[in-house]
Amino acid sequence: MAFISSGYNPDKPMENRISDIGPRHFGEFLPPVIAKNFGKWDYHEILEPGVLCHTGLSGDKAYTVRCGSARLISVTHVREICEIADKFAGGFLRFTTRNNIEFIVEDKKAALDLKAFLNSQKFPGGSMKFPVGGTGAGVTNIVHTQGWVHCHTPATDASGTVKATMDAVFDDFANMKLPAPVRISMACCLNMCGAVHCSDIAILGIHRKPPLIDHEYLDNLCEIPLAVAACPTGAVRPSKVELNGKTYKTVAIKEERCMFCGNCYTMCPSLPLSDGEGDGIALMVGGKISNRVTKPAFSKVVVPYIPNEPPRWPTMTKVIKKILDTYAADAHKYERLGDWANRIGWERFFEKCELEFSAHLIDDFRDPAYYTWRQTTQFKW
C-alpha cells in the first residue's frame, strides 16, 4: 500500500504543528437531556437490571441502558456501537469506568426496547455482543490490563481470564441478587496496572521464577545501573562472568530476594521472567474503594497460586464462583465481601469457602506485614 501523508512534513516537524491541546471538552459530547440537567439531578432509580432512570429537579427524566463489553474491541465493533447510538440514542454514548457502554434514551419504553435489542445481538461464535446488566447489587464488568495481547511482563492473559470469569459469573451480571456490589479486577503482573489492590475479588498474574540472565546480550544491550536501580528489593547487583573465554559485564541476582515483579526486565530486556511452569494466578479478595459504611480497604491474598490453564482457567473460575456463592448465601444485605469476611473472621472465611490456608498467605513483606498478624486472644475455632 502506498504511504498516505497526513500533511506532516518530516523535514519540518514544527511546521503547523499543533500540540498540548489536551482532551476535547466533555460539554461537546453530552446528550441534550444530560446537558440541560447538568448539576441539577434529583435522584435515580434502577428500573431493572441494566436500566437506570435519573430524574432532574426540572422533572426531566433520562433513561440509561447499560451493557457490558470486552475492553479489547475492534474498529468494526465501535462502529456498530455508534450505529446503535445513532439509531436509539441521538448519536451519543458513554463508557463507564469499568468498560461498560451506556446509551441515554428519552422514555421507559425506548429503554426496554433498546435493552431487548442489545440482548438479541450476537457474534457468530455465539457470545452476546451487548449483554445488558452491571447495575446494583451484582457483579459488573471487570477492569483489567493487557496480558498476552500486548505487554512484556504478564504472567497470564487478561482478556482470556476476564472472558472466562465473566462467563462463570454472568448470572450475577444480568441480575441483582447479591448482598452488595461485587467489583472484580484483573492485573496480569505485580505492577497491577489494573489496580487490583482494592477489589472485592482480584485476579492477579504472578511469576514464580527469578529472571533468566542472558549475559551476552546484557553486556551489549543494557544499562546495568538502571537494572540494579530498578529492583525494589535490591536483588540485582553488577557482576562479571566468563563465557567461552570472554568476560562479560553483567548482573548477578540474589534469587532468594526476588519478589518476581519484572521491574528489572522493563529496564533490561536481557532479564526475562515469563515461564510457562512458573507463571500463574493469585486470587485476592475483600478490598473496596467506596467509603460506604466501612473504610476503603485493600484486597487480601487468599489463594497464593493457581496454574495457568488457558483458554478457560477452570480451576480459577471454580474458586471465584465458590467464593462468590458462599458470600452471596452468607452475607448480610449491604455487606461487602470484605466486610463479611471481617465479621465472620478470616479463619471462618477459609473454612466456608473451602480454601486451604498456607504459610504463603502470612505476610512477610516489610513493615506492613506485622500489622496483619493476630495480636489478641480473640479468634474462632
Partner: protein
C-alpha cells in the same frame, strides 16, 4: 480462511460474555474484504497475526512481546508505548505494534461523530483494534508502526482536535467520574476540574520531568466511582459540611415500602420488607441517626459522610450544602512497600471555578515542588511520603496539622524534635552544665 489455526482461542467464542476473539476475527474479516477500499497503512492482516501470537501464548503460557524501545512523537516524552513481537518472522503483521494513548473526554461521554473520526484514523493507520478504555482512562489504540506515529498525531490534533495522553515519568492522563453530568451525589463539578487541571498541566503531561509517574483522579463524592482514593497520587474526592437534607415524607414512603431502597439495587432477591432500623440506623458508622415516632433524626455534626443513608434512600436524603473536595495524597498499587491508600492531606478545600481553581492549583504545585526536590528516581510520591513522613509533606504544602489527618495519634514518643521546637535551642554550655553536675 484464517491465517493461523487458533483452537485454544476458539474456545473463548462460546459463553454469554462478549468474546474478544470473535471480535478480532470480525475485524480480520472486514480488513480482508476491505469493502470501502481503505489503503491500510499497516499490515492488513495484523488482527490475524495478533490472534496467532496470542494462540502461541495460550499454548506455551508465555508472553511474546518485547518491551519498549523509545518511540514517540517529536517533542513529547509520552503518549506512545513501544511494543515489538518476539517472533516477527512468524507474525510480521504485529512485528511492530506500538500503542497510542489518546486523551479521553472527562466522564467518557462521546458523540458518535467523534468516535467515528478516531476509528477512521485507526482503520487507516493502525491495527483496527482498541481498548475502550485503558486502565488509566485513555482511549488506547493498540498496534501501529513507527512511521505512522507522526501521521496519527497530526490527524488527531488537526482533524479531531484531540491530544495524546500521558505515559512515562510524567503526569498521566487525569480521569474523573461522570459527576454532575448524571449524578445527584456530585459535590463539585469533577469533570470540569479534571478538564481544567489537564489543560493547565499539559507540559507536565507531555514532558517527563518528575521522579516517576503521577496520577490525578476526581471523584464527585465519597462513593469513589473512579477510585481516586486508591489509584491516584493526588485524589480529589467531593465532600460537604452542611447537614444532609431530609425529606420526611419520602422517608415514610421508604418505610411504607412505596419506594424501593437503594434505588432498587437489591431487586433481584427477596430481602423482606425494608427495615429502616436495621438497614440504615444500625449501619451508620458514626451512629448518628435515629428513627423515632416516624421521623428520621440525624445528629449532623457527627456524620462522617459515608454516603450509606443517602445511597439507601436517595429520594429522601440529599447531600448537604457547603460543598468542596478533600484531597488525598500518595495512593498507588504496587510495589515497594506494597499497596498504599491515599492519605488525607487537605480535609476541605473550595472548588472555585471563578478564580480558576487557584487554591487547588497552589496545593498541587507545592506538592510537586516538594516531590521533585525530595523524591528519588522512580519513587512515587506515596513512597517519598513514607520515607520522609507525612508531616514533611503537609509542611511543604503549607497545610496545618489537624486531627483529621490521622486515624489515631502515634504509638510511640520517638518524635524528631527540631532545635527550634525547644526553648533555648540545642546549643548548650558544657561549662555551665558542669557547674551543676560534677563529672
Amino acid at each position: 480462511m484464517a491465517k493461523h489455526k487458533t483452537p485454544l482461542l476458539d474456545q473463548l467464542e462460546s459463553g454469554p460474555w462478549p468474546s474478544f476473539v470473535s471480535d478480532i476475527k470480525q475485524e480480520a474479516a472486514s480488513r480482508a474484504k476491505n469493502e470501502k477500499g481503505v489503503q491500510y497503512q499497516v499490515a492488513v492482516d495484523c488482527p490475524e497475526d495478533l490472534l496467532g501470537v496470542l494462540e502461541m501464548s495460550y499454548t506455551d503460557g508465555e508472553t511474546h512481546w518485547k518491551h519498549g524501545g523509545i518511540v514517540g512523537v517529536f517533542g513529547y516524552g509520552g503518549g506512545v508505548i513501544g511494543r515489538y513481537c518476539d517472533q516477527p518472522q512468524m507474525f510480521p503483521g504485529v512485528a511492530h505494534f506500538h500503542t497510542v494513548r489518546v486523551a479521553q473526554p472527562m466522564g467518557m461521554w462521546y458523540s458518535t461523530e467523534f468516535l467515528r473520526g478516531i476509528m477512521d484514523i485507526w482503520d487507516l493507520r493502525g491495527s483496527g483494534l482498541t481498548n475502550m478504555h485503558g486502565a488509566t482512562g485513555d482511549i488506547v489504540l493498540l498496534g501501529t508502526s513507527t512511521p505512522q506515529l507522526e501521521e496519527i498525531f497530526w490527524e488527531l490534533t488537526h482533524n479531531m482536535n484531540v491530544d495524546l495522553g500521558g505515559s512515562g515519568s510524567n503526569l498521566r492522563t487525569p480521569a474523573s467520574c461522570m459527576g454532575m453530568s448524571r449524578c445527584q451525589y456530585a459535590c463539585y463539578d469533577a469533570q470540569e476540574l479534571c478538564y481544567n487541571l489537564t489543560q493547565e498541566y499539559q507540559d507536565e503531561l507531555h514532558r517527563p520531568a518528575f521522579p516517576y509517574k503521577f496520577k490525578f483522579k476526581f471523584d464527585g463524592c465519597p462513593n469513589g466511582c473512579v477510585a481516586a482514593i486508591a489509584r491516584s497520587d493526588l485524589g480529589f474526592l467531593g465532600t460537604f459540611k452542611g447537614p444532609i437534607k431530609i425529606n420526611q415524607e419520602a422517608v415514610a414512603a421508604y418505610v411504607g415500602g412505596e419506594i424501593a431502597p437503594n434505588a432498587g439495587a437489591h431487586a433481584g432477591r427477596d430481602w423482606g420488607k425494608f427495615d429502616i432500623q436495621k438497614e440504615v440506623v444500625d449501619l451508620c458508622p458514626s451512629k448518628c441517626i435515629s428513627y423515632e415516632g416516624g421521623k428520621l433524626v440525624m445528629d449532623h455534626k457527627e456524620c462522617v459522610r459515608c454516603m450509606h443513608c443517602i445511597n439507601t434512600m436517595p429520594q429522601a436524603l440529599r447531600i448537604g450544602d457547603e460543598r468542596g473536595v478533600s484531597i488525598f495524597c500518595g495512593a498507588k498499587a504496587p510495589i515497594l512497600d506494597g499497596p498504599q491508600m491515599g492519605s488525607l492531606l487537605v480535609p476541605f478545600i473550595e472548588v472555585n471555578k471563578d478564580d480558576d481553581y487557584q487554591a487547588i492549583k497552589d496545593v498541587v504545585e507545592s506538592v510537586w515542588d516538594w516531590w521533585m526536590e525530595e523524591g528519588k528516581n522512580r519513587e512515587r510520591i506515596g513512597e517519598t511520603m513514607k520515607r520522609l513522613g507525612f508531616a514533611a509533606l503537609a509542611d511543604a504544602a503549607g497545610i496545618a496539622a489537624d486531627p483529621r489527618h490521622v486515624q489515631e495519634p502515634r504509638h510511640n514518643p520517638y518524635i524528631f524534635w527540631k532545635a527550634e521546637d525547644v526553648e533555648g535551642g540545642w546549643d548548650r554550655d558544657l561549662a555551665e552544665f558542669r557547674k551543676r553536675h560534677q563529672r
